[in-house]
Symmetry: C2
Subunit: 307 residues, 2 copies
């Protein structure tokens, strides 16, 4: 990671964590267990990639981090809710995440389900406040809620998760279980929706609130889609070759016979595919010129990250 990107990451993490602490319901508020569970997962060591993208998207369009901070936090809450629900026994059944016990291990399944629900709900509560931020048009505020909901819904993240579950345990090898025809098409659907959709939405939300032009939004949509894909491919690759301790995970995609890039294409081809996505992401940024240095560095970082 470049020094500049490293500084940007750590500055954003601090700003976002402070805002999250302020905007999440206090644990003293009753019933306190649900607020403890919400904070437990939000502060379990996330990279804050989506908040960073919201802010970077806004800044690339001439906006300020302050204007989009509620949106940055909302995207992190949505991401966290999706992890809590993904880890449930009925889903991926993961006991550990980022080296810590998952929500249902600490609070029980019922509270884990509700903590996820609560984070999703609270995210929209935060997003509703955008309309009263100085410099944000009410129309942009409403559009951002729509685009975030779309990216998080069945036409995005949830749709990807459903396809992922359906392809679990090697089921993707059986043609009759695959409404997408080929494993390649199913895999592409999973990646584009499960991960890339929300990453793209983060950039677009920031840009839209900052008054980005149609041209800028188009460029960021393409950039977001490509880094989202690269991110998920490298996630698959790291699951195969990465340091389990650093990743803080138990089990593996391979053991669960999941449909992943390495499973379908092998490691070499997967890595080349990720590199091609990053190259496409770089190319998308042409309209921004010098203002997008950070986004370029971020795209490169995705290929070298180790957790």
């Amino acid at each position: 990671m470049t020094l500049r990107l490293q500084k940007y990451f750590s500055r954003t993490q601090k700003t976002v964590d402070r805002a999250l602490r302020r905007w999440l319901p206090k644990t003293s508020q009753k019933p306190s267990v649900i607020h403890k569970a919400m904070r437990y997962s939000v502060f379990a060591g996330g990279k804050r990639l989506r908040p960073l993208l919201v802010i970077a998207g806004a800044e690339a369009c001439g906006g300020k981090a302050k204007q989009v901070l509620p949106t940055a936090c909302a995207l992190e809450m949505i991401h966290t809710y999706s992890l809590i629900h993904d880890d449930l026994p009925a889903m991926d059944d993961d006991d550990m995440r980022r080296g810590k016990p998952t929500s249902h291990k600490v609070f029980g399944e019922a509270i884990a389900v509700l903590a996820g629900d609560a984070l999703l709900t609270h995210a929209f509560s935060l997003l509703s406040k955008n309309a009263s931020i100085r410099g944000v048009s009410p129309r942009a505020a409403a559009e951002v809620i729509g685009l975030v909901a779309s990216a998080a819904g069945t036409g995005g993240m949830i749709g990807g998760q459903v396809a992922d579950i359906q392809s679990d345990e090697g089921r993707w090898r059986r043609r009759k279980n695959n409404p997408f025809g080929t494993p390649a098409r199913l895999l592409s659907f999973i990646h584009q929706n499960k991960t890339a959709a929300l990453i793209q939405a983060s950039l677009l939300a920031g840009a839209r609130l900052a008054g980005g032009t149609a041209n800028q939004l188009r460029a960021l949509a393409s950039y977001g889609k490509n880094i989202g894909l690269a991110f998920q491919i490298m996630d698959d690759v790291l699951d195969r070759v990465g340091d389990k301790k650093k990743l803080g995970k138990k089990g593996s995609d391979q053991a669960n016979r999941k449909l992943t890039y390495p499973a379908l294409y092998g490691l070499g081809k997967s890595y080349r595919k990720a590199r091609a996505c990053v190259a496409a992401a770089h190319a998308s940024l042409a309209p921004f010129g010098a203002k997008s240095a950070l986004l370029h560095e971020l795209a490169d970082y995705l290929l070298v990250r180790d957790y």
Copy 2:
């Protein structure tokens, strides 16, 4: 039920069901199982009480049903998501609801969790469209998203559900498990949040979108809180004395040693409490005069409904 209220119910149900069919994702959209699961629960025979309240709230303030139809559908989706998650094995573990197998019985637990998530997410997608409805101010549209999210979150419905779970299995009898001090205070918290909050939010959302005055909103807030409480008390009463077949439920609050009005106060006192709430609801409507005939009839109906 008065004939007028009956007609209003059946007209609203038709309008709302048509809109829900139009606005829920098509089952042909991939992955289709999640869209089937969403529609299965939404069309499992709900009374559409919350949509009716959205519309009645708007009409009492001089608005039109058409303006608030997306909001009416969004409130029904939020209500439905809460039922799907409440019925999960980790929560109330109900196999039947309204005489039909619950979502996780039909689609499995993973899809049931995700169908609930998807309905909640889609509700906010619909609400985001309010800003472009003719006659609705963008500020009102944003406020409505905020008030619905608050009522559905841990300061409302989810908070009530958490307290309800914590009081299950007779645990409410043990003082150390009850952060609310007395069982009466805990019960009041559960009822006001689990049910009344969303009922109140339905009325307020409709009224706010229709440009209701501060005075009208205050009146409807009090009306909503009181009919919400009456509704939940009568729900507890029906669980004890009602026709299980009509209710379409198995099991009972009594068997689960739940904290309910009848459990704490007995049937007679519960019924008197519900009647007092309905009387207070009537009194709240004074500022509306003749425009609130329907809301008066609705309040009375809550005491005589049998399912």
